[in-house]
Amino acid sequence: MDSAVPALALRDIACHFPARGNPGGTYTAVRDSTITIAPGEFVSIVGPTGCGKSTLLNVASGLLKPSQGTVEVFGQKLTGINRQAGYMFQADALMPWRTALENVVVGPEFAGMDRAQADRLGRDWMARVGLAGFEKAYPHHLSGGMRKRVALAQMLIMDPKVILMDEPFSALDVQTRQLMENELLDLWQADRKSVMFITHDLEEAIALSDRVIALAAGPGTHPIGEFAIDLPRPRDVAEIRHLEEFSRLHAQIWEALKEEVLKGYAQGKR
């Protein structure tokens, strides 16, 4: 799994934010975090809510400058935006003034692709995420799950080398989610991209990943455990859950996380 040059390396990252209600003070969301992802590796990040997963992804995308530490992309130190990466945001990030199809083709359009060709590609992707027929709907005419799928298509159409995903499937029903997961795995398999995947669904994390990283509860989040998932590939996400190895891994990661969550919650309860 290790490779000489990682596709993505977060080294010794710390992120301090201005503290709420305490002018001048800071809140340390992330600290001492080192995460490397090899080319072609699929890594999932799990951790209690509010611990700093999205913050790490923002750092990896180059959108957020860490207070400390460096990011490397294929060995190059990252300074601006991470141009190798596609990022599917946790929040709604579609452009409300564009229809679903227009949103999907934004990337190719920016890259200067011919209008007709981009359209064809966009329609193709709309169908792949199960939204054929909704091309002309504006985002606010779509359901929450549909918007997520538009965002998915918008990111994947760019065919990025590094994929950053923040809870991409949490708004989908189980069945649709499995379809999308398989779609993602197919794509990843076809031309091994590097994926950094955030999820709250442990089963999803195990089913998809080569490695699962568990984070501690905030403040001062940092990785507390890494779990290599050596389940056979190619996988079908619906069936792999029935393997015994799967249950073992699930229990193992669950154990590691449980304490953290309770810790975080206890803090939150004061």
Binding site: L63, Y87, A91, A93, L94, M95, W97, V106, G107, M155
Partner: protein, 263 residues
């Protein structure tokens, strides 16, 4: 049902209009105010008719409309460009802002004679005056509109590989559109004010010239005829802005509504 609602509004509009005219007429008829100041709606209408019947108005109207439209377009475009530029370049914004704010606050109408000195007595000086009025209304809104862009949508576009100009075209401008149009409605008025005041301060033709002439002759009906004429054309220009706005902003999320639900 929808239809009858609209019909009712229209009827109410007409009623208000009739009441307005009647009230106006009553003011002088019953001597509540001197007709020296409020004129007579029928004489005003007659004056307007005469202006059009003799065709003498077309030259003046043409001049004023030309000045207004050019000032409106140039002022808006300039406000848009400078607003975008300063909103996106913090250094430029810090450098320019005291000057812009100062110039905004400067009573530019007083500079009309100076504009006449710099740009002559023709349409150019009126257009210049109109631009200085239109510019700021648009500028402040564009500036604020750009800064209100949703940070997530912006980040998304950047991640999708948008260059600076693409960001501008695909994110900043569409997002600021409703701000721009809100300012354009006020700007229509400003453009007319600029043109007419410019003419009023010194000119050879235009509706402002007519108004000034009427004022010199204590002809309040002529003044009102000119003002009403301008107002009418301002409404037309505003309606055009409204049509473009409706077209460009049709995507805006409004409260969801089903088809056929009883209101």
């Amino acid at each position: 049902m929808f239809r009858s609602q609209n019909t009712r509004i229209l009827l109410a509009q007409i009623l208000i209009f009739i009441l307005f005219i009647a009230g106006w007429k009553a003011l002088t008829t019953f001597g509540i105010m001197s007709k020296f100041f409020v004129g007579d709606p029928f004489i005003v209408a007659g004056r307007l008719y005469e202006w059009f019947a003799t065709g003498m108005i077309f030259k003046h109207l043409g001049v004023t409309l030309f000045e207004t439209v050019v000032a409106f377009i140039l002022g808006s475009v300039l406000g848009l460009l400078v607003g975008l530029w300063l909103a996106l370049s913090p250094t430029a914004s810090q450098l320019a802002s005291p000057y812009l704010k100062g110039f905004n606050a400067m009573p530019r109408v007083i500079l009309a004679p100076i504009f006449a000195v710099w740009f002559g007595l023709g349409v150019t000086s009126k257009i210049a005056l109109g631009i200085t009025l239109v510019f700021f209304v648009v500028f402040f809104n564009v500036y604020q509109g750009v800064r209100e862009v949703s940070p997530v949508t912006l980040a998304n576009a950047r991640m999708l590989g948008a260059s600076r100009t693409q960001l501008l075209r695909s994110v900043y401008i569409p997002s600021a559109t409703s701000w721009v149009f809100s300012s354009l409605h006020a700007a229509v008025g400003m453009a007319f004010v600029g043109a007419v005041i410019g003419e009023y301060m010194g000119s050879a033709a235009g509706v402002g010239y007519l108004i000034l002439e009427a004022e010199g002759l204590f002809d309040i009906n002529g003044v009102f005829a000119g003002v009403i004429l301008l107002t009418f054309f301002a409404l037309i220009l505003d309606a055009i802005v409204g049509v473009v706005e409706a077209r460009l902003l049709h995507w805006q999320p409004r409260e969801a509504a089903t088809v056929g639900a009883p209101a």
